[in-house]
């Protein structure tokens, strides 16, 4: 099915608006990675994935998505809301007390669309593998997607999972790494270098792809289609998704500073001026 790139880009613009507004309203949260992954999320939920917004936990016959780097909850929540999982107005409750939109995603408040809590890093790939194993047992040939941060790959558990999936021929998994070379304390290669990341995943037995322009919707769409074509061939797939932290908001780009900082009133206004309102602000 061919993608309407223009439409997807419009949705992405609105998701970016939601992100900066959500984080600004509670003066906390993680805009940088959220903005960087917006195009990937929109591509998944509005094109690549077969999924049902009426949501049930088991997801029989549906593609599943797990967010391992849970701190980019703003982009996850906005995408889910815009895709019909819960009312868009509820985005205004992000990180507020008694809200279903917790700071980091969780199943605890039963927000539709979330299948596991994440926030403490390194755990999502394992969970995705478990869900993928269940699909194999259930003869369910839909796919399991999981997104991780690149800094997150410093967590050892990721590599336990990375060792397991190829050994067990988990070829219904499409993992992605938000390869933005940025983490809290600086560029990833300065904090703790990931080295030759492609070679590492290949050495572990994964089928590795790169999307060099992770903030270009066409590239992301094509990348996801390529990934899907590679499933079912005995190996799990990992996409190295080259993105830019803060993409879409000029003062948030080119720096690691906006990992977990909220814009003030002026900064918000500047950001919103750069992002066309396409679907209507909540």
């Amino acid at each position: 099915m061919s993608a309407d790139i223009n439409n997807l880009e419009q949705i992405a613009s609105q998701v970016r608006r939601d992100i900066v507004r959500m984080v600004h309203a509670c003066q906390s949260g993680h805009p940088g990675g959220s903005l960087g992954c917006t195009d990937y999320f929109v591509a998944l939920y509005f094109h690549a994935m077969k999924h049902d917004p009426s949501f049930n936990m088991d997801g029989h016959g549906e593609d599943l998505f797990f967010l391992s780097n849970g701190h980019i909850s703003p982009v996850f929540y906005s995408t889910l809301a815009r895709a019909g999982y819960f009312p868009v107005e509820e985005l205004a409750t992000f990180r507020k007390i008694n809200s279903r939109l917790q700071g980091h995603p969780t199943t605890h408040e039963h927000l539709p669309g979330i299948r596991v809590a994440s926030g403490s890093l390194g755990q999502g790939l394992s969970v995705a593998i478990g869900a993928a194993q269940a699909k194999k047992l259930n003869n369910d040939n839909s796919l399991v997607y999981v997104l991780m941060g690149d800094g997150e790959l410093q967590e050892g558990q990721v590599w336990e999972a990375a060792m397991y999936a190829p050994h067990n021929k988990m070829d219904n998994i499409i993992a992605a790494v938000d390869y933005n070379n940025a983490q809290i304390d600086g560029p990833t290669h300065e904090v703790l270098s990931l080295g030759d990341l492609r070679a590492k995943w290949e050495a572990f037995g994964w089928d590795v792809m790169e999307v060099k322009q992770g903030n270009d919707m066409s590239s992301v769409i094509n990348g996801l289609q390529e990934a899907k074509n590679r499933t079912g061939k005995g190996k799990p797939i990992v996409i190295l998704l080259h993105t830019e932290m803060g993409n879409g908001v000029d003062f948030m780009m080119g720096t690691h500073k906006w990992h977990g900082v909220a814009p003030n009133d002026e900064q918000l206004e500047s950001a919103l001026n750069q992002l066309p309102q396409t679907l209507g602000d909540y």
Binding site: M57, D58, G59, H60, L64, T106, T107, H108, R115, V116, A117, S118, G119, S120, G122, Q123, G124, L125, S126, V127, A128, I129, G130, A131, A132, Q133, A134, K135, L137, N138, D140, G156, Q157, E160, A161, M163, Y164, N168
Partner: protein, 317 residues
């Protein structure tokens, strides 16, 4: 004193293995995971009958807990198996976030718990696991006393909705509970009615408590003996009913006195019916290599320790 006998001594971990096999037969959604300890966890029979429902994770317990959480998505009922220290301390955040906080229906089955693990020593002798697990909201914590009870508990967990921690041990111990028992999660079992002191025990210390009760009878002391296999949720009413009658209590566990059964009981008593309590437990120490009986004696968690504690508790009334 009610008389308890047994024809065989068996290890509680074998009870788990037998229970797991039976669980697999009863419910096709039961699946099992192990971290390179199939033999020790007695999972061979399950694997032989249901090879496609078994997942060998390798020495990667954090991954195992995450995979177990994921397996529930799609309707599976996962039973994880490794040593108790690897099932808890090592993977605490994974259990906390991916299982407990995520409300996943995972049964964490933990073998070789406590001092009676024996010669492997303190790196493997977990004495903090009941504490760690009971402090997780929504986690059920069970420590059955013998082979038959462990088998029954394993089966009971199949139909229990929610995460659970099932703790059992390495050595053979008297198998005295009925083979056909119905295991009720959260329900205390009254083993002997008494009037002078309440003895509440869990796991391997239940048989020790029975031995202690017989010795106390010889000393002219009537002990009410209760098996608390479920530390969480605790059968508070059973405990309160007993201490209202006897006026003092001994708690007995193969665990640190900090954070285990004794702790839980103390909270209930402090809130509702303050009662002199003596703690038979490891006194905030690590274990060491040795034979189970030697270790239980050295660290003060055997029948003799319970007798001493009971006599002391009575003097505090």
């Amino acid at each position: 004193m009610k008389k308890y006998t047994y024809t065989e001594s068996k290890d509680t971990r074998s009870g788990f293995g037998a229970g797991l096999l039976e669980a697999g037969r009863q419910n096709e959604n039961v699946v099992a995971l192990c971290a390179d300890l199939i033999g020790s966890l007695k999972m061979n029979d399950f694997i032989k009958e249901f090879p496609e429902r078994f997942f060998q994770i390798g020495i990667a317990e954090a991954n195992m807990m995450g995979i177990a959480a994921g397996l529930t998505i799609g309707g599976k009922i996962p039973f994880t198996g490794t040593f108790a220290n690897f099932s808890t301390g090592r993977v605490y955040d994974q259990i906390r976030q991916s299982i407990a906080y995520s409300g996943k229906n995972v049964k964490i089955c933990a073998s070789h718990a406590g001092l009676t693990l024996g010669e492997d020593g303190a790196t493997h002798q977990i004495l903090e696991d009941i504490g760690l697990m009971k402090m997780l909201p929504g986690m059920t914590v069970i420590n059955p006393c013998d082979y038959n009870q462990t088998k029954a508990a394993t089966l009971a967990l199949v139909n229990h909705e929610g995460p659970a921690y099932l703790r059992f041990g390495r050595p053979v111990v008297p198998n005295f509970t009925p083979a056909d028992q119905t295991f009720e999660i959260g329900k205390a079992i009254l083993l002997n009615e008494g009037t002078d002191v309440t003895i509440v025990a869990t796991g391997h210390l239940v048989w020790e408590a029975i031995q202690a009760g017989e010795e106390l009878e010889r000393l002219g002391i009537s002990a009410e003996i209760i098996n608390i296999h479920t530390i969480k949720p605790l059968d508070e009413q059973a405990i309160l009913n007993s201490v209202k009658k006897t006026g003092c209590i001994v708690t007995a566990e193969e665990h640190n006195r900090l954070g285990g059964l004794g702790d839980s009981v103390a909270q209930v008593l402090a809130q509702h019916f303050p009662t002199p309590q003596e703690f038979v437990a490891v006194d905030d120490s690590f274990g060491e290599s040795g034979k189970p009986a030697q270790l239980m004696e050295k660290y003060g968690i055997n029948a003799a320790s319970i007798v001493d504690a009971a006599r002391k508790a009575i003097t505090r009334k």
